[in-house]
């Protein structure tokens, strides 16, 4: 389980996250929507300490990310982050992208790492692409490899940054299926997206992030109100939000 407790993050003068609180249970999929530059990606990056926070606390399974003696490497294996551009290691084959961290971080033998990776490749329909290099994979394949790379490390939490932005619309269903598959493994997921159709199809709970403030909405509200917010035309007027909610 992931908890953010009154998290505040500033970049210089600008407050990117203001008093943000959020809890995601195991197996739950939380979707965060918001206009560009609203701090969505920063929110994800605080969860594996690629960014540090200025106030508040973050806990995973009840343990603070800021406790002394925290093993950052262990944390990052426990919190998988799939980037928008995937960022596979370009010098390694698809399979080696997955086995290398297993060997180096989880200290598995090469054979064992390979067996585990291939099992995951099979589940995600990648077994035929195991020896391909990142620049030979399609966008969807690349993303699946990135998911498998994180998944192989047996994370408790998965963070997905704009998982559908690089894909054409027909691959969206595939991503939804992947997200639900992760959820069924009991992994807590936090997904940042612009894509409302995808959000409604994949998510369990929905949040809007505007000007650093996070608020939970239902999927209906999200579908009705968020488009304006996402276009960045205006922030959603409080009155209207309440009206819709009522």
């Amino acid at each position: 389980m992931v908890e953010l407790i009154s998290v505040t993050k500033r970049f210089g003068e600008r407050t990117v996250l203001a008093d943000v609180s959020l809890a995601v249970q195991s197996g739950e999929v939380a979707i965060v929507c918001g206009p560009s530059g609203s701090g969505k990606s920063t929110l994800l990056r605080t969860l594996n300490r690629l960014e540090t926070i200025d106030a508040g606390d973050i806990r995973i399974d009840g343990q603070s990310l800021y406790r002394s003696g925290l093993d950052l490497r262990e944390l990052r294996a426990k919190v998988g982050l799939v980037f928008q551009q995937c960022h596979l290691f370009s010098h390694l084959s698809a399979l080696a992208n997955v086995t290398m961290p297993l060997v180096k971080v989880k200290r598995l033998g090469r054979g064992e790492a390979r067996a585990q990776a291939l099992a995951l490749f099979r589940q995600f329909g990648l077994e035929r692409r195991a020896d391909a290099f990142p620049d030979e994979l399609s966008g969807g394949e690349r993303q699946r490899v990135a998911i498998v790379r994180s998944l192989a490390l047996r994370p408790k939490v998965m963070l997905l940054d704009e998982p559908t932005s690089a894909l054409d619309w027909c691959l969206r269903a595939e991503v939804v299926a992947n997200v639900r598959a992760l959820a069924s493994r009991g992994i807590a997921q936090l997904i940042v997206t612009h894509d409302l159709d995808f959000a409604c199809a994949a998510g369990d709970r929905f949040f809007l992030l505007q000007e650093g403030r996070l608020r939970e909405v239902d999927n209906y509200t999200l579908a009705c109100c968020a488009p304006e917010a996402l276009r960045g035309l205006s922030s959603v007027p409080r009155g209207r939000l309440q009206a819709v909610a009522a």
């Binding site: 594996n48 690629l50 490497r73 262990e74 944390l75 990052r76 294996a77 998988g80 982050l81 980037f83 551009q85 960022h87 596979l88 290691f89 370009s90 010098h91 390694l92 084959s93 080696a96 290398m100 961290p101 060997v103 180096k104 971080v105 290099f133 790379r149 994180s150 490390l153």
Partner: protein, 253 residues
């Protein structure tokens, strides 16, 4: 009067032996110093882009100082001055060592070349997209593993052409070792000139050798660059070339 070329002097066994020995020493000096400077230069580059000021500042200071020092200075320094800076017993042990000139030359060229290698590798490392650095961190790799498993292999691929140039340069710089009496190829041509008063023949042959090796290095680097070593797996640095892979890359262009 004109210089009349007499190639037969190169067939004299004692002179041919000088040239052959010269080639041997040139290859040893060039190969070892290039290898050492690649490691040293990469380490310096890592220190320079690392987040720790304790690593970064000394490395920056060193590189910016060493960059402006001529190679021949290092050669003379390590041969003549360095043993004097050590405790007397170590100094005289070094001076008494028969291969000290060779070792001093190799160390000097390694130090000289490492500076430039570090500049090249640093530029390449900074050219890696930020995302790839973060991906390495997000997988839970330690800083050392991030470098050895991801950043160095990716960097070395992008900087192969300038590194190859630098290697050719270092290969030619091996001739600086003649000033400390390492009998490398240029020294050998000078020796032949001083024994026979005929320098042009041996110098031409030596030049031909330098050009040939430099060209071969250039061709090899181009092949690497064209995708021959995309299969560099992990820190083991295993280069595997597959004909099919190469053919595919070639057919794309």
């Amino acid at each position: 009067m004109r210089y009349e070329v007499d190639w037969s002097i190169l067939a004299r066994p004692e002179l041919a032996a000088l040239l052959i020995d010269g080639v041997r020493y040139t290859m040893i000096v060039a190969a070892v110093s290039t290898g050492v400077s690649l490691v040293l230069g990469t380490a310096l580059a890592i220190a320079r882009v690392s987040g720790s000021g304790w690593l970064r500042w000394p490395a920056e200071l060193w590189v910016n100082l060493a960059r402006h020092i001529p190679g021949v200075f290092w050669v003379l320094f390590f041969y003549f001055a360095f043993p004097e800076l050590l405790p007397a017993t170590w100094g005289s042990a070094l001076n008494g060592w028969t291969s000290f000139a060779l070792a001093a030359g190799i160390v000097a060229l390694s130090v000289d070349n490492a500076t430039y290698v570090s500049d090249i590798v640093r530029t390449g490392a900074l050219a890696i997209p930020r995302g790839e650095w973060e991906a390495a961190r997000c997988c839970g790799l330690s800083p050392w593993q991030q470098w050895t498993c991801c950043l160095i292999p990716v960097t070395l691929r992008t900087v192969t052409p300038p590194l190859a140039n630098r290697t050719i340069h270092n290969f030619k710089n091996s001739s600086l070792c003649m000033v400390i009496a390492v009998p490398e190829l240029t020294w050998a041509t000078q020796q032949i000139e001083s024994l026979t008063f005929r320098g042009i023949e041996a110098t031409l042959v030596a030049t031909l050798f330098y050009v040939t090796v430099a060209l071969a290095l250039g061709v090899w680097a181009r092949r690497l660059e064209r995708g021959g070593y995309r299969h560099w797996r992990g820190a083991g640095a295993v280069w595997r070339r597959e004909r099919g892979e190469l053919a595919r890359v070639d057919s794309r262009r």
